[in-house]
């Protein structure tokens, strides 16, 4: 399409003005996060019902996909047998889904029974629109008692914390997000630090002095000092330690225990976290 010169000037002028407005908005919203939260909660409320529906559809599609793809070779051998096998496969798939769901719910129930704290179970209905922020959307909101800052777990493992809460949906900032920070503790040596996400499965444990003895494989748990997460929740294990880095502190990489891409159900701790210590109930198992 031909763009006349005066139109070009107008487009550049308006774009520049809008870029300046964007910069102003970015600066303003960094000082006033309530504005972003309000707008985000509103837009998420619009999208959440669609996401819940789409989640169900995608679960169905992925179930059908998994069930049928394995059978293509069999069809070539015997169409009749394949039909029978497909029916059994579907049934098996369904049973497996029930089994997995049962296991997951049992874990959540065990967790609920093992600690005396109020919790709300929520289904994961969506992820972030861009690939640069590690967030998930869940189908519970302030109508269910959720508030910004509440910790979110899966069993005894840290998932993240609520960053935006709408009436019927909420966003969880995952522990892997590059803006996430969690007060953490090396379980064995009791060395304290801050676990910062990096946008990948490997987070960074910062501010652990070089004198502290930490080893690859050591377990990292929440220290409870940030006032967000109760003490003793499992975060991950140490993947690498570099004491040769400059400065006072060690360069420690932590492999997070959860694969956030596969989360389906999470639990929000809505009760008073200051009275809970998970160190006493921690099972010690990482989940994939």
């Amino acid at each position: 399409m031909a763009v006349p010169a005066d139109n070009r000037v107008r487009v550049i002028g308006v774009s520049f003005a809008l870029l300046c407005i964007s910069l102003f908005l970015t600066e303003y919203s960094s000082r006033n996060p309530a504005l972003t939260r309000l707008g985000s909660a509103a837009i998420n409320e619009v999208v959440a019902p669609l996401q819940s529906g789409a989640r169900a559809v995608s679960n169905f599609v992925s179930g059908v996909w998994k069930g049928y793809i394995a059978l293509w070779g069999v069809r070539a051998e015997n169409r009749k047998l394949r039909a029978r096998l497909a029916a059994l496969e579907r049934e098996n798939l369904l049973l497996n889904e029930f089994k997995i769901e049962n296991k997951r719910l049992r874990e959540l129930l065990d967790f609920k029974n093992s600690v005396k704290i109020d919790t709300v179970t929520a289904d994961v209905i969506g992820f972030d629109a861009t690939n640069w922020t590690a967030q998930i959307s869940v189908n519970r909101g302030y109508r269910d008692g959720l508030k910004v800052g509440m910790p979110v777990v899966m069993g005894h493992i840290v998932v993240g914390q609520l960053s935006i809460v709408g009436p019927g949906s909420a966003k969880v900032l995952l522990a892997s997000d590059h803006t996430s920070g969690i007060a953490a503790l090396v379980q064995k040596s009791r060395a304290r630090g801050i676990l910062e996400g990096s946008g990948t499965a490997l987070a960074r444990l910062k501010y652990v002095v070089k004198q502290d003895r930490v080893r690859v494989g050591d377990r990292i748990i929440t220290s409870g000092l940030d006032g967000v997460f109760p003490k003793g929740l499992f975060i991950g294990t140490i993947d690498s330690v570099n004491r040769d880095s400059e400065g006072l502190f060690q360069d420690i990489r932590v492999r997070l225990a959860l694969n956030f891409n596969r989360l389906e159900t999470v639990m929000v701790l809505t009760g008073d976290i200051s009275r809970v210590d998970f160190s006493t109930v921690l099972s010690g198992e990482g989940h994939e």
């Binding site: 399409m1 031909a2 763009v3 139109n7 070009r8 107008r10 487009v11 550049i12 308006v14 774009s15 520049f16 809008l18 870029l19 407005i21 964007s22 910069l23 102003f24 908005l25 970015t26 600066e27 303003y28 919203s29 960094s30 972003t36 939260r37 707008g39 985000s40 509103a42 837009i43 998420n44 619009v46 999208v47 669609l50 996401q51 789409a54 989640r55 995608s58 679960n59 599609v61 992925s62 209905i125 969506g126 992820f127 972030d128 629109a129 861009t130 690939n131 640069w132 922020t133 967030q135 935006i164 966003k171 590059h178 803006t179 910062e196 990096s198 946008g199 990948t200 891409n261 596969r262």
Partner: protein
């Protein structure tokens, strides 16, 4: 059809694009980065309209992404407007119906948009690690999906655009 109708269509299509990339793509292909469909819509607008209204729509589409993410208000809006203005200027020199052009345009736009995004958030937030690797993946995936989605956007928005043209006569 008035500009308001076109704008409303684009805004709703932007919401749908965000919904698809945040829900369906990430649920069905969790191991891959989702294509930036909202950005593809901005490229489409730049190629097809190249006017002031398009710049405003690119800004609003970016604002939708910002609002959905809920981190900061403005960086994606600024980044989409930048991509729009640059592409609107070069649109007449490109054969935009070509599969290769739209793929390359999407790859370059993803890199450009991400660069502007990080420049805008730099002083306010820490940057994630492995940016280059993740950006490469996202650019390729967005490039792959560019051509079919351009056709899809064209089908949905062409009627409105043609009516606008007729009305302006």
């Amino acid at each position: 059809m008035s500009s308001w109708h076109t704008a409303t269509r684009v805004i709703l299509l932007g919401l749908a694009a965000i919904f698809v990339q945040a829900t369906l793509f990430k649920a069905l292909l969790p191991a891959f980065p989702a294509p930036n469909l909202a950005l593809l819509l901005v490229i489409y607008l730049a190629f097809k309209s190249s006017d002031v209204l398009g710049a405003f729509l690119a800004f609003l589409l970016g604002l939708e992404v910002d609002l959905y993410s809920g981190v900061l208000l403005g960086p994606w809006a600024g980044s989409f407007v930048t991509v729009y203005s640059i592409y609107a200027l070069v649109a007449r020199r490109l054969f935009v119906e070509s599969y290769i052009t739209s793929t390359l345009a999407a790859v370059v736009a993803t890199c450009l948009a991400t660069l502007v995004y990080f420049l805008l958030i730099w002083s306010f937030l820490p940057l994630p690690e492995n940016i280059l690797w993740k950006l490469t993946q996202e650019a390729i995936v967005t490039g792959v999906f560019a051509a079919p989605f351009m056709v899809f956007f064209d089908r949905l928005l062409r009627a409105g655009r043609e009516e606008r043209k007729t009305a302006s006569w």
